[in-house]
């Protein structure tokens, strides 16, 4: 379910989410619930999705990013994707996601 605490860290007003090896619809609901709880409780402004461990992602991953962006962008927050491999970087770029997420 992705509820392990070390997968979510809050540094300053940045929420860092360690994404699982396979980001699909099955994993999406757990990530969404945990992230949204933390966004509510801790007044998170920005979100960093860490794809270091991720080897697979389908369009459910885009849904996670879009949904979180909607929650924080109205307060001026930004969304980042870090440590994404070549394929995931390409998915984010070609799908137009770079309009809302900065791939670092």
């Amino acid at each position: 379910m992705g509820t392990k605490t070390q997968e979510y860290a809050i540094i300053d007003n940045y929420l860092c989410i360690k994404m699982p090896a396979e980001v699909d619809h099955h994993k999406a609901s757990g990530i969404r619930e945990c992230a949204d709880q933390l966004i509510l409780d801790d007044k998170v402004k920005n979100i960093v999705f860490d794809f270091e461990d991720t080897t697979f992602m389908d369009s459910s991953g885009l849904g996670i990013i879009i949904g979180r962006y909607r929650k924080i962008s109205c307060f001026g927050g930004k969304v980042y994707a870090v440590n994404a491999n070549e394929r995931i970087t390409r998915l984010l770029t070609t799908s137009g996601m770079t309009a809302i997420v900065q791939v670092v």
Partner: protein
């Protein structure tokens, strides 16, 4: 493409999200002996993941049902291999397939989906056709050709 059928599988599974990973592993194993690139393998896994997810979320509205994935591998000496995958559900169906296949289209009820499922299938496979009728179900037919190694040069 003409050619001889060299392998064929049919997998029936419950429409629960745990089985999205199962479907990906099965299709990856099915084509693992082919001389294909890592990217081609990931393309097929992603397309399957999208179609199976659609069946679970939209076809069966996350209430469960049976998803059938069948795959056929054909070989033609001059062209290479052709993979055909069909993913079927007997769920609610799609009223307007053309509309559903437009990029960014999602059913209004949930804003957690990207609306890119069919776009991903079309981007990663050579051919995608969707047959659906309301209350009967949906069949996604996808094809991808893998050129023979000599033809890649």
């Amino acid at each position: 493409m003409e050619g001889n059928v060299i392998n064929e599988i049919k997998l029936e599974f419950e429409a629960v999200s745990e089985n999205e990973g199962l479907a990906r592993v099965v299709i990856a194993t099915f084509i693992s002996a082919l001389d294909i690139t890592v990217d081609e393998l990931e393309d097929v896994k992603t397309a399957v993941s999208e179609a199976v997810t659609n069946a679970i979320i939209h076809g069966y509205e996350e209430k469960g049902g049976t998803v059938v994935m069948s795959a056929v591998l054909k070989k033609d000496d001059s062209i290479g291999h052709l993979l055909t995958i069909e993913i079927c559900d007997t769920g609610v169906g799609i009223e307007d397939v053309e509309k559903a296949m437009q990029p960014m289209f999602t059913t209004g009820s949930e804003n957690e989906r990207s609306g890119m499922g069919f776009s991903f299938m079309e981007a990663f496979m050579d051919r995608v056709t969707v047959t659906s009728s309301p209350n009967m179900g949906t069949m996604v037919h996808m094809e991808k050709q893998f050129k023979a190694y000599d033809a890649r040069q």
